[in-house]
């Protein structure tokens, strides 16, 4: 067992996990944060995407000890209290989530994009989400939603 300290969605967390756990397993099975999805578990799908120190990364391929002392943002950390994040609101308005399995990862990739680029072009959005597979939506509604959220964040 390793005692690992990290900041998750602004809160200092300490948990005891084996060294061979990934960040995803720690979030889901150590901290009860099951928003990040365990899809392929080997880097193909992006469902496990979280924001680590400002960058979108795959938590299924991040050894937990690499996250020690760092800041992790997951889908659970997007809303402010009962107020959804503009991305979440726009996903709802555009019908950008169908089965929803890809959604937490896509929201995290999109949140990292909006943090570094408040006025992304359609192409920037496509690029930023190019590592997130969605089997349901055909992506267009997702791009619409991210564009809408970017406009609202700027307003």
């Amino acid at each position: 067992m390793e005692v690992v300290r990290l900041t998750v969605n602004g809160d200092e967390r300490v948990c005891g996990v084996p060294a061979h756990y990934t960040l995803l397993e720690t979030l889901r099975y150590g901290l009860g944060l099951t928003g990040s999805k365990q899809g392929c578990d080997k880097g193909d799908c992006g469902a496990c995407t979280v924001v680590l120190d400002g960058k979108a990364v795959l938590s299924c391929l991040t050894p937990i000890l690499e996250a020690e002392g760092r800041h992790v943002r997951t889908v659970e950390g997007l809303a402010s209290g009962v107020e959804p994040h503009p991305l979440q609101d726009e996903f709802d308005l555009h019908g950008a989530a169908q089965c929803g399995f890809c959604t937490p990862g896509i929201l995290c990739s999109a949140a990292a994009l909006l943090d570094r680029e408040p006025s992304p072009s359609r192409e920037d959005i496509r690029e930023a989400l190019a590592g997130n597979l969605c089997r349901c939506t055909g992506y267009e509604k997702i791009y619409d939603a991210v564009e809408g959220a970017a406009a609202r964040c700027r307003a």
């Binding site: 960058k55 795959l58 000890l65 690499e66």
Partner: protein, 357 residues
């Protein structure tokens, strides 16, 4: 769900400490950087190191910097700076630390300006999250790939294990006794075409290997890196301002996928626009990127026009035979060799790029 096996995770802060840990634990230890190749492979049961040595806290392995040539015009004593290379001329070099991520390399202004082929290749690896994680060191040391290898232990066991892992036959060559798994990393063909040098640190100190000599035609261990060695940096000679480079990658989708074929070209041009030097590297054939031979002569002294490009593409086709080692019919991949070589050369010639397919 794909679980990792239990291991000890070490986080040394210096190269010396990392080398010492690797020496101490011998065959039981493996280095890890971004983990984007090693973790999937461990999850598939292809490697089970009891000790994983993370390189991520070693500051010395970071940084991208341009080392200018000495202003006095003399040949520098620094043996890293070479007077000849793919692009010719004494002009200093670009140093890229092994831990630099593919994203940071693809976005770096000096890399983009001087080595557009390398910047493009780094920017085409996998998808954005993996480029935030994956490093150039891991890309250079990437394990070879094969349809029959990059699978779960259950899958491999069902078919019968192969030479590369636990078995004694090759499912690709059937009768062959050699593994021909594909070199599948995007940056090395560019590093070879650009005449880059790699620095390795091991128990006996540091040594340099030309990128062109680093890879060997053995799918099981396709590099000259000894297991206890760490790649510390890549140095690329700057060449003359007229030097250019380009990259072309074939894959199923425009993102996430490994290359099914890759072509890196680097050349220099005389004042009249004719070709002064030219190198071409094609990969994802067997375990080693192929430096095209008997090739440059078709172009030197001539402008890089459509006819010359056609000749170069045909010569490449004659030399390159993709195998059924990765997805995509080998016959189709062979037919795409001249197409991809032609597109890379069109980019190099500045003939306008076609939309990537």
């Amino acid at each position: 769900m794909l679980r990792l096996h239990p291991f000890r995770y070490h986080r040394p802060e210096t190269v010396a400490e990392a080398v010492q840990l690797l020496a101490q634990h011998g065959q039981e230890a493996m280095p890890v950087a971004g983990g984007t190749d090693l973790l999937p492979n461990m999850k598939h049961g292809l490697f089970r190191p009891g000790h994983v040595v993370s390189l991520n806290r070693i500051g010395e392995l970071r940084g991208i910097s341009t080392i200018a040539p000495p202003s006095n015009g003399h040949r520098p004593g620094d043996s890293f700076v070479r007077t000849t290379g793919a692009t010719g001329g004494t002009a200093g070099h670009l140093r890229i630390g092994a831990l630099e991520t593919l994203h940071d390399i693809s976005a770096h202004p000096d890399v983009r300006r001087r080595f557009p082929g390398l910047a493009e290749a780094a920017g085409l690896v996998a998808g954005p999250q993996l480029r935030n994680m994956g490093t150039i060191g891991g890309n250079v040391c990437l394990d070879t790939r094969c349809t029959y290898y990059n699978q779960t232990a259950f899958w491999r066991g069902a078919l019968g294990h192969c030479l590369k892992k636990d078995g004694d036959t090759c499912h690709v060559t059937k009768t062959g006794k050699k593994c021909v798994a594909a070199h599948s990393a995007d940056t090395p063909p560019n590093l070879i075409a650009l005449g880059a040098t790699l620095t390795l640190a091991g128990p006996n100190g540091r040594r340099e290997v030309e990128a062109a000599d680093f890879f060997i035609a053995d799918g099981i261990r396709n590099t000259r890196r000894a297991p206890g060695e760490i790649l510390t940096e890549v140095r690329i000679p700057l060449g003359r301002p007229s030097a250019r480079s380009a990259y072309q990658k074939l894959r199923q989708r425009k993102s996430i996928d490994f290359p099914l074929l890759s072509v890196a070209v680097a050349g220099d041009f005389a004042n009249d626009g004719s070709v002064a030097s030219l190198k071409g590297v094609v990969s994802v054939l067997g375990a080693r990127p192929r430096l095209l031979s008997d090739w440059e002569g078709l172009a030197t002294g001539k402008p890089l026009n459509a006819g010359v490009i056609r000749d170069l593409a045909h010569r490449a086709w004659q030399q390159c035979r993709p195998l059924e080692n990765v997805v995509g019919d080998a016959g189709w991949r062979r037919a795409m060799v001249p197409v991809c070589v032609g597109r890379a050369l069109e980019k190099l010639a500045g003939l306008g790029t076609r939309p990537d397919r």
